[in-house]
């Protein structure tokens, strides 16, 4: 068993970054995730593992620093919250276009604009539908516990390098700020420069005479070549969808009604399932773990068996669009959510389920 610690979600991300053998963290302060940069600065991982930690002048600079290090085959990451993630969209589009592996963490707060520092899930569209320009996808992981904040840093880098694709870890202010028991994984070594050259032949590590120069770019001015490159991306995204779709099912075997929720909303909905079961209602929970690729297939299969689904989100209803696309009218799908940083209670979710789905027409 690994080392057990009581930690904030944000601290778990920082510690997991060091233990994953990350080479560089570049970040800029923003509530509710500044503890990540603070933790790393006080831990001095450059003494522990040689990991670089640098406070950048903006989120725009942070994400471009990640671009530079990632293009060199290094494990690089940044973290921010919603307004800062908006500033990074240009960089994310370039990173996706240049196929640079890296990890971006969004500890989501309420918007739009400066919004609030309170937790929210209103960045689902931005994470899963683009955000930046062009036909690209981020692999998006949604942790629902402090344990997963730690585990998904490691998983995120595995997926990023496996597919040469940016990975977004989309948490929210609840998971970032709450404390839970975490089992930390053991320290992984950072790769040496020679290991990087052997493992990532595409990386810009300096051109020896033995190979052609490596170029990291998202530019190709010839339309037919750019189309071919885009088709290559789409083939990759298809492969990711087939191999990496992750979800959790709770009490779905005999369920007549389903809650669909991720992140903090899934934790709340888990309690709602328990309350419903105590009342004799056959309710289950589908928790998407990857927001992209979305677990459409299982939701479609479950839609054949149940009488209705309630999507619980701390937003005006964003993930529900993917649930509706997955179910294609096979069952009733409605939304329940609180906005602007308000967190729903398990009881109010149960009331919504009973009135809108079970008792509703």
């Amino acid at each position: 068993m690994g080392e057990l610690r009581l930690m904030k979600g944000n601290e778990a991300i920082a510690e997991a970054a060091i233990r994953s053998g990350v080479d560089a963290y570049y970040g800029y302060p923003i509530t509710p995730q500044s503890e990540i940069l603070e933790y790393l600065m006080s831990e001095e991982p450059y003494k522990r593992t040689g990991m670089v930690v640098l406070q950048a002048e903006s989120e725009i600079a942070s994400v471009n620093m990640v671009y530079g290090a990632g293009a060199g085959g290094k494990k690089a990451m940044t973290t921010s919250s919603s307004p800062g993630i908006s500033l990074m969209q240009e960089g994310l589009s370039y990173i996706a276009g240049a196929e640079i592996p890296c990890l971006i963490v969004n500890v989501v707060r309420g918007g739009p604009g400066l919004g609030t520092i309170q937790p929210s899930q209103s960045d689902y569209f931005q994470t899963t539908k683009g955000g930046g320009h062009g036909d690209y996808r981020l692999i998006a992981l949604a942790p629902a516990s402090v344990q997963e904040m730690s585990d998904f840093v490691k998983l995120g880098f595995e997926l990023a390098f496996k597919y040469r694709n940016p990975v977004m870890l989309q948490a929210d202010g609840v998971i970032g700020q709450m404390m839970e028991k975490v089992e930390l994984f053991d320290q992984m070594p950072r790769l040496t420069d020679q290991e990087i050259i052997a493992k990532y032949p595409w990386a810009t590590t300096g051109k020896p005479k033995s190979r052609e120069r490596n170029i990291i770019t998202s530019l190709d001015l010839e339309a037919l070549k750019q189309e071919e490159f885009n088709l290559h991306l789409q083939r990759k995204y298809k492969e990711v969808t087939e191999n990496e779709t992750r979800y959790e099912l709770v009490n779905c075997e005999d369920a007549e009604y389903l809650l669909v929720a991720y992140g903090s909303s899934a934790r709340i909905s888990l309690k709602t399932v328990q309350l419903a079961r105590e009342k004799g209602l056959k309710v289950g929970l589908v928790r998407p773990i990857t927001l992209w690729p979305f677990p459409s297939k299982i939701i479609s299969e479950l839609a054949d068996k149940v009488k209705g689904m309630l999507c619980v989100e701390m937003s005006a209803g964003q993930m529900i669009e993917d649930v509706i696309l997955a179910t294609l009218g096979k069952t009733k799908v409605l939304h329940y959510g609180r906005l602007g940083g308000v967190i729903p209670s398990p009881d109010e979710v149960l009331v919504a389920l009973e009135t809108q789905i079970i008792g509703g027409k």
């Binding site: 671009y67 530079g68 810009t204």
Partner: protein, 268 residues
Amino acid sequence: MEDVKIEDVIKIEDIIKQENLVFSKTKNLTDKTMSFCPGCGHGVAHRITMEVLEEMGISEDTIGIAPVGCSVLAYEFMNIDMQQAAHGRAPAVATGLKRVYPDKYVFTYQGDGDLAAIGTGETIHACNRGENIVIIFVNNGIYGMTGGQMAPTTLAGMKTSTSPYGRDVETMGAPLKITEVVALLPGTCYVTRQSVHTPGNVRKAKKAIRKAFENQKAKKGLSFIEIVSNCNSGWKMTPVDSNKWMEENMFPFYPLGDIKDEFKLLQK
């Protein structure tokens, strides 16, 4: 007079012989035809940068960062590992790379719109932190690639497609001397302004670039080289006229020479 063809008198095969070879292109440039307009200074700036890497024997350990602008395709011509950065972000990209490869050589190659308008923040902060990199800044006072729009460095009164009646400093701001600005920052070790429009100036510019990479080798911090260059297409002049115009108009406002060396300001 009877027609005498030159090839009848001089046989090219007699000239192209190994013993007659007095000049060759650096191996650090590819054979791809450069996309720059004939007469433009970019090609020379590319060449002397690549020659310096070859002469110092550091080509295999150098990674360049290309900008957005006329030199966006620098990686097509520079035969070394290269990254292409978003508009203005090259100093941040270079920072991210250099911090994880402190023993490699990293440089950015940027134009005035990229470095002094959209990327001002990244430029200032990379310079202020004293990132151990080289920034090569080609200033031709115009957005060449997009068709000759006003740049941050466009001279007062200068006509461009977005200042068709001349740059009005009252409404459009004065031209930005970013090089003098970065010279004031503690992280810059060496700041100089050069040109590549005469053989003598090419030699001086190349010497400056060599010094910048030697500084990086000695881990001294950031070296910043501005190259004032012509844009004959954007300025709508012949190459010869554009160089004359540059001497008469650009150099009085952007005077050539070292501004800072060994962290000491040389000019007031």
